[in-house]
Amino acid sequence: MARTPVREIMPAEAADLIAQGAYLIDTREVHEWNAGRIAGATLIPPIEVLDRIEQVAPDKSKQVVVYCAAGARSMRAAMQMAQMGYSNVASMAGGIGVWKQEGRPVELPDSTPAIARNPRYARHLVMPEVGPEGQGKLNESKVLFIGAGGLGSPGLLYLAAAGVGTLGIVDFDVVDLTNLQRQVVHADDRIGMKKTQSAAMTIKALNPEVKVVAHEEMLTEDNVDRIIDGYDVIIDGTDTFEVRYTLNDAAVRAAIPVVHASVFRFEGQLTVFKPFEGPCYRCLYPTPPPPELAPGCSVAGVLGVVPGVMGLLQATEAVKVLLDLGDPLIGRLLIWDALDGSFSEVTLRRDPHCPACGDGVLAEQRQTFNMPTLTPAAG
């Protein structure tokens, strides 16, 4: 039996062979190629190897170096080439992943925006659903958090990590010891510090590329329009009905989606209020309950992880809305019962008579925002 013409080589040897003029084949997918490749390589995705290799590497006796992300696809491609008569094929062990770990240079297409060259977002950049374009969108996005508390904390951390360019925080409170059981964006040595400042410190430590805008004030009818202006998505983590209604009405006026969540003891609820595509908070509950029928978390308690989970689901929905991915929870209310470990869902409808987003208001908005014809809300 003839000696197999395929060898597995380390990046150092690959670099030598490349320098000596070997054919260099990158057998990955286009989105991986766009996120960075070895200079001088030609892209041949795995499915195209048989059809295209002879065109790219006409001399079958010459040295060929093949690589992929981790070394598996390149080994398969090398075997295929050997069967086609190539006599000197080397597959690079560990792929471009190890190549990069060893500090070897990677080339990016000239047209690639700087964001796509940022290794911080490598796990996003290789996903076709995000990629350089989506990462660029996140980087240009502005998300406003109403409250840097139990719900806001995890979302602030993860959206900062994800590279959302601007994170606004509306909170006038200071960090209190009783917050730290769940408000993980703060820290023990910051008790007494303004929450906006404490959250900004944590965010900067995690991702200095993110801009934090602190709004150290209580959201009121008088300031709400000014504060929410220019944001792409709002994450509502407030604990009073008054603020929820104030925010709702202003967000509908400004046509900004609100990712809403609330928690109570072992349970959480979540939905996305995207103005005129689904209901708003007022469609769901036209009037608030009297205080005695709606105790807050300070009275009833909340398991610390519950706002953590719901806050991260809010952050997830925000990313989906920003990148137009999947099916955001518009017109659907998700209920999570931590004790059962169960999620259930109910359908919400836009109320055509809603004083905030009903048909009369919609007609005016459509003129203002030049919106297309209404798609009826699911129901």
């Binding site: 409250g147 508390g149 139990g150 719900l151 769940r182 509502d236 983590g237 407030t238 604990d239 009073t240 009905f241 929820r244 969540a261 609330s262 928690v263 109570f264 003891r265 072992f266 349970e267 609820q269 769901l284 509950y285 036209p286 009037t287 608030p288 309950p289 029928l293 709606a294 105790p295 807050g296 978390c297 009833a300 909340v302 519950v306 706002p307 209310l333 209920i335 019962d337 059962d340 259930s344 869902e345 109910v346 359908t347 919400l348 409808r349 129901g379």
Partner: protein, 91 residues
């Protein structure tokens, strides 16, 4: 009997149960029977005129009864009712 899911804020009125049974041919009858068994729920769910409070939503198999036949919506044995009052908690 129909299973009615009680939200956490109202469980104090039903002996801390998550779900309770009540009978009736319509949503209104089921809720009235429920209040008969657990009188503390009365003022939580209904106005003095016997209408549902606007801060309480009732879902039959995941659909808001206000967009069905409200309290007159027919209920079958296997149907599930969920009561959801507004919750403010931002923690």
């Amino acid at each position: 009997m129909t299973r009615v899911r009680i939200p956490p804020v109202l469980r104090v009125h039903v002996g801390d149960q998550k779900e309770v049974d009540a009978s009736g041919a319509t949503v209104g009858e089921v809720l009235t029977d429920l209040v008969g068994r657990h009188p503390g729920l009365g003022e939580q769910l209904f106005t003095a005129d016997g209408a549902l409070h606007r801060f309480v939503n009732v879902y039959l198999n995941g659909r808001d009864v206000r967009y069905l036949e409200s309290l007159d919506t027919t209920v079958g044995e296997r149907d599930a009712i969920i009561i959801l009052p507004a919750m403010a908690g931002g923690a």
